[in-house]
Every structure is written in C-alpha cells, then in structure tokens.
Subunit: 157 residues, 2 copies
DNA sequence: TGATAATGTTACCAAGTATAACTATTTTGG
DNA sequence: CCAAAATAGTTATACTTGGTAACATTATCA
C-alpha cells in the first residue's frame, strides 16, 4: 500500500509537527536558514542606501584594498567579471566609488572609494555590525565566537 | 590626504593579504561563504537528477507530510505561492510527485510523491548526506554537532 | 613580429523571488 | 439564504542575481 493510498484512506492530510527530518542533520540546510535569517535585516538596512549586500561587501573590499582591479573584486566576492562591471557601475553612479586609470597596465582600472563612499561606509560599518549582533542575539558571546570559528573552518581553503 | 592620493603616490595597488576586516567578525558573511561552499557540490549532484536544491527540499517535505497542500510547502520553504506552482509543476513533469484532488476543499490539492519519487528520494538522501559530510569534513564530529546546534539557535523562532 | 593571454565590456540567457490580477471555491455575516 | 470577503491555486510580469559567449583593447612571450 502506497503512502498516497494510506493517506487517502486515513484522511491523513498534513501532520502539523514534522518528524525528525534529514534536514535537521544537514549543515547545508541549517546554513541556508540561518543566512536567510540574517540577510533579511541586512538587505533592509542597505536598501535605505540603495545598496545590495554584495555592493556593501565590495565597498569594504575596496576600502581595505584601495586601487585594486575589478578582477580582484571578482575573486574576493566569488563572482564573474561581468557582475563586477555592473557592481562598480552602480557604485560609481551612486558616487561612492570610482575607476581611475592609474596603472601601468592600461586595460585595467584602480578602483577607489570616493570621499562620500568612505563616509557612507563608516556609517554602514556600525549599522551592519549592530544588525549582525542583533541577528545572533540568542547566542552568548562565546557561542558567537565559536560559531564564527566553525564557519570559517568549513569554508576556508 | 585621501586614500586615493596616498595609494597613487605609493603605487600601492592591491595589498595581497587582507588586513583584519569587519567581514571576519560578521556571522552573516561567514554564513554566506559557508553556504556557498556546501551548496556548490549539492547543486552539482542534484543537477544529475535535473533537480534544484529547493526541489529536493520540497521532495523531503512532501515525503514527510504526504498529502500536504501547496501552501504548506510554501510556508516551510519560505517561498511565495507562485514559486510553489512552478516547483510542483517541475516535480510532476519529472514524474516524481503529483497533485491529487483528495480534499473536502476542492480548491486545493494533496501533494504526494510518486513511487519513482520515493525511490529517487531514497537514493538522494544517501548522496546528499554524504555530500554534506564531505563539505564539513574539516570539522570533528563534535564540532559538526555543535555547529548544527548553534545554527539552529540562530534561525529558530 | 605574431600568437596567445588577460582586462574589461556588451549582449544574452537561466533561475530565484516578488507582486498584481485572475479563477474557482469556501467561509462569513447580515 | 445570499452577497461579500477570504482562500488556494494560477498566470503574467518584472526585477535581481548568477552565468556564458563574444568582443575590443592592451600585455606578454616565443
């Protein structure tokens, strides 16, 4: 007797409480859920600045590596060159960053934050830190530290 | 003197090693990186079955709640009704699941896995478990357990 | 020098996610 | 009971994100 038949007979439609699922044992699934949880508030906050999470991350990377090439951004963000183009276009249009022909290699640009970009980023750093803390408020400080350590261990090369 | 000027003068282009970044302290960022890491191999494996991760998760949910309604799938997957439609359409087209008019409420369907769906899922469970373990192989068993616990603590309501 | 590779760009395409508007049914309240 | 509101699913649409292919320009190298 198939599950379908059994359920049709029993009138069993939807059993409210979920039995112990394989999902509960998958780190990948827990990662996705946790990421969605934290990303929501982040995206909302950044939207106030017309920014997406990846654009904010790009600003951080640019700030920490001023004058880097677009290709370097792609490597650190794990995205392909065409996405870097639209990303930098966006930051330029917002007046937060700029391309500067300042290299011996005339094909490439040095990417820099503008004054406004640096100032916006200073603000954002504080707000994003606060949001990240809020999203993990259920963890103690030592749990949060341990979580960070374990996550890095998972993805570090 | 701005960062731009400083770097233009010093010829500082891209400082290879990254200084201690705020990114290293954000759980949200570590979550994203770790999720990308694990999701890659999962997506590759599922692609062999013409499935996306969300479709696999849906199959698990259906298997554990046979006869549930599409709306229930949406709630558990955190997606909107239109996405559930295309998802169930896909599973039906692959012969893995089916809609059955088996409810007092004639607007809704009970969603069930087909025989083939159940068999495919049995296989997939094993393979996905193995992939998840492989992706977290750098962790000891106790670390992995602790990571799961912490992640659930972050996203559980 | 000429072949090859690298940088950035454009054009294009597949997927995921969201909303609005619609059909068919059910529920509710007068 | 009947009209109005709500609900389940669907369609159409759009936007974002991610990717590949093809291209121009410039560097590198054999």
């Amino acid at each position: 007797m198939s599950k379908l038949e059994r359920n049709l007979e029993a009138g069993n439609t939807h059993s409210g409480a979920r039995s112990d699922s394989i999902l509960d044992d998958l780190v990948g699934y827990a990662l996705k859920r946790a990421h969605v949880h934290l990303n929501k508030s982040l995206a909302s906050k950044l939207a106030e600045y017309d920014l997406r999470p990846s654009q904010f991350t790009a600003m951080l990377i640019i700030d920490e590596n001023p004058g880097l090439m677009q290709a370097d951004i792609g490597v650190q963000l794990l995205i392909e060159p065409p996405q870097v183009v639209t990303l930098v276009n966006r930051l330029e249009k917002l007046g937060l960053a700029m391309r500067v022909r300042c290299k011996p290699d005339k094909r490439s640009y040095g990417i820099f934050l503008s004054k406004q970009g640096e100032q916006t980023l200073r603000q954002l750093r504080l707000e994003v830190r606060a949001l990240d803390a809020a999203g993990t408020a259920r963890l103690s400080e030592s749990e949060r530290t341990e979580l960070l350590r374990l996550l890095k261990k998972v993805y570090r090369d």
